[in-house]
Assembly symmetry: C2
Homo-oligomer: 508 residues x 2
């Protein structure tokens, strides 16, 4: 896993990958890398409702590695899941399940306080199954074996992951004599995509889904390819057009300085790098990651992930950049911005740009198979260097890296996306697509109501699945109201279920 | 393929397997066979609307053998499909696609006259893709290679077949610039199950489905396991309780006579068998097949499949059995009934009970993996010997035969079925589940409306997907009306689509 987030000299490689961005910009390509990395991080705040090791059990369930073929001696693996019956009082209590995404499941349990708070309110059983090939849920016996090569990675797909969730739930409900318990799904980012798709594909398994910041339309030509970087850029431009301009101009300066060994040395010094810079691409990736991540976690209150950030951190970064308006050295102003992001506490003495730690990374594999999210940067509305999505280059990278050819049209074949409103306005029900418009992933989200029960919940000032986080004293009113809307939907799904089954007594 | 239908001395092994019944009755088990075979047969009637080699093109499409895993060098195969643009006049004409099931695709094209007639009326493009592992659509290069062993058969699943249909349609529409053409699905029996499931899983691919005689509830404990044989028995009892009694009594007589070599010789003579009978099981299977098949094709007009049958053939068989009421030899009366079924023209001089021809049979494999349809026979309401479904025995057979363990709960996990009305009354739309109540498969069908757009169309006197056949001059009024109801639904789906898209001009 290439870690591009540095915390002082400590590589923050344990960060939480919510969605690894396939940025494929020129710098990344020149390095032969497909993607910059977006690392979001375990939530260090622990409000009362937040899960701790005391509040859930860790269990394992035997899953088929391949749900869609019948081999004589099928391989199985142990899928890890977290389960809490602490709040579950009635025999027919609801089950709140988070669709684990690309990371250790504890991270999601720790970063989805909303679900835990609701579990208490609704008297729900809580379930956090881990996504296959992440955390401890490794096919073929170990991470090393699972990530050995393309043949061992072959079963790392969203369809197999959904089938895991379905098999686990079916077995668990049977063993707990809980067949009548309604299941409500939650998920953020890729987990939100899984939640939405699971409700659409398996309505008999789950009665509804809260799909937060789920970019299910970030495929093929469903949204313009420059959407993501346009929104990142707008976040900065919205704070300050000067800030936007400085960043936009900085790339050329960086490239020019980085042409010589002397220049690379000066960049090493200027950016307080712990080790000598070999090329500008590494530094560019480090900056890309900061800007992308800042836009995603542009939360309205101070938050503490692997590093603490102030409220509205994009504003703070721009303030730092703008504070140097007298400084003609653009890169010094950029460094001031980077320091807000990478060193808000001021404790870092140098920065490590990160390096590959684990070899093959799971999301990279997924991006090289079915999760092809075309990205580009349009010079006129982007603070990033212009580049266009080049499928041939993308394919070449994936073939070289993993020996597989990406299937850029598969997701829309399997899960739809084209004309989504027309297709689903008379089909499907009970999904909340929530998005904060500051989040660059919101551009690939569902931003309009599809029907009365397939609804878009939008917050202008929200960022990446902010709604799923624990409530705090600093929550703005619009965030409180957003969560109330989501709770109202969950209540209506449960009421509908109760009306149908008569057996379930809502404890809320 | 064990052919249990004989036509004179010609083995009718080319018959069309609509659904191979997993009968697992005592006789079949004693032979070490899982199932009796239900062979329905190519329609020899050729009304004007019926497809001939002149009216469609035969084409091939490159499919992935495995849609749900990403191997470095994925295997592909050529899926055959029939296509006709003869009636297709508008650029945005609808596409009527039949979901090919377990047999050569031409058979389904020839036996689905309703679709061809509608194509003419609606100006639709017609598509009949062949189901993988049947006909010419063989993975791994040949039927021999595809059916070599469990590893080569591993990808013979309904999910992979649906993904084939989706990939074919997506590619075809793209290549024909026909992305805006609405797709309506048709299917009978297993093909009807595929049509219903495809609409549910891929609403973005097809706007609606006519699922005829689709026993999507014939799984797990969704319907009583004795349903199928109860309905077969009721068909006979409905014609004559004497007939029912004679058949019910005949099994013991047959077993008693068959105890000795002399008795087997007498049975060989009595039943005009072409070769010496070795055990009564072969004869019992031959009879089972006749009764089951008679119930399925208990059509209201004379029909000519691989052998001609009169209208309401169950009545004719009972008439023949009852005509011998003075005859104390029950087996002679049974033979009279068998002769109606196997020798209505009187041209046969002896009967061949059939033998294995092809080795492994595709449907047998499917029954041994995901298509586990538990069957039993309840002595009090069945004319067949009593037996109960024994999953352990079933598993043992499949392990011995193919080395795979059946997954009896998989289909309901993947496609649902439990509480189907509650699950789907607020989810999904645009499926007609049509069933004729004389058809023993109707017991596993959807027989009640789920919602205003997920509807059950029932005919009391209908049999196995009668509605999909070509119209004839002998069609009773209720059959005409049934088809009109189905046409009205298709029109409403197309109108809905037209209203949404404005671009499609209905030619009907």
């Amino acid at each position: 896993m290439a870690s591009l987030v540095a915390n002082g000299c400590l590589n923050a490689g344990l960060g939480l990958l919510f969605i690894a961005l396939v940025a494929n910009h020129a710098a990344a390509w020149s390095l032969g890398r497909l993607s910059t990395r977006l690392l979001s991080h375990p939530h260090r705040l622990r409000p009362a409702s937040l899960a701790t090791a005391d509040t859930y059990d860790i269990r394992y369930f035997t899953q088929l590695v391949d749900h869609f073929a019948y081999h004589p001696h099928p391989s199985t693996f142990q899928q890890r899941y977290l389960i809490s019956t602490e709040h579950c009082s009635e025999p027919n209590s609801p089950i709140f399940m988070y669709c684990g995404n690309e990371g250790k499941i504890e991270w999601f349990a720790q970063n989805t306080g909303f679900l835990w708070e609701l579990a208490s309110t609704f008297g729900a059983l809580v379930l956090f199954p881990e996504h296959r090939y992440y955390g401890e849920s490794m096919p073929f016996g170990s991470q090393e074996a699972a990530y050995k090569d393309a043949d061992s990675l072959a079963y790392l797909t969203s369809e197999q992951a959904l089938a895991d969730f379905v098999s686990l739930l079916t077995d668990l409900k049977k063993n707990m004599s809980a067949e009548a318990c309604p299941v409500v799904l939650f998920g953020g980012s890729y987990g939100g995509m899984l939640a939405a798709w699971m409700r659409l594909k398996y309505p008999h398994i789950a009665i509804g889904a809260i799909a937060s910041s789920a970019p299910i339309l970030q495929f093929e030509d469903l949204v313009p390819t420059d959407t993501f970087y346009r929104i990142v850029s707008e976040d900065f431009k919205g704070e300050s057009s000067d800030c936007f301009d400085v960043i936009q101009q900085s790339w050329d300066v960086l490239d020019t300085v980085g042409q010589s060994e002397e220049g690379l040395q000066s960049l090493t010094n200027k950016f307080l790098l712990c080790s000598q810079l070999n090329n500008t691409s590494e530094l560019e990736n480090w900056m890309y990651a900061a800007y992308e991540y800042l836009a995603m976690v542009n939360y309205p209150y101070a938050a503490n992930f692997t590093m603490p950030l102030p409220a509205f951190p994009v504003r703070e970064v721009c303030n730092a950049i703008n504070a140097g308006y007298n400084n003609t050295d653009i890169l010094s102003r950029i460094f001031a911005g980077m320091s807000v992001y990478y060193n808000y506490t001021g404790s870092a003495t140098c920065f490590d740009l990160g390096e590959n730690i684990d070899g093959i990374d799971g999301w990279d594999w997924q991006a090289c198979t079915e999760m092809v999210m075309p990205m580009s940067s349009n010079g006129s509305n982007s603070m990033f260097p212009p580049y266009t999505f080049d499928l041939q280059q993308y394919e070449a990278y994936c073939l070289e890296q993993y020996g597989v050819k990406p299937m850029p049209t598969w997701i829309t074949q399997e899960f739809g996306g084209h004309s989504i409103k027309k297709v689903l306005e008379n089909f499907g029900s009970n999904i909340v697509f929530s998005n904060g418009l500051l989040d660059p992933w919101s551009g690939g989200g569902v931003l309009q109501n599809i029907s009365s029960t397939l609804v878009a919940v939008i917050t202008e000032q929200g960022a990446h699945h902010l709604d799923l986080r624990s409530s705090t004293e600093d929550d703005p009113q619009w965030l409180i109201e957003q969560r109330q809307v989501e709770i109202a939907h969950i209540k209506s799904w449960l009421s509908q279920y109760q009306d149908q089954h008569h057996g379930y007594a809502a404890s809320s």
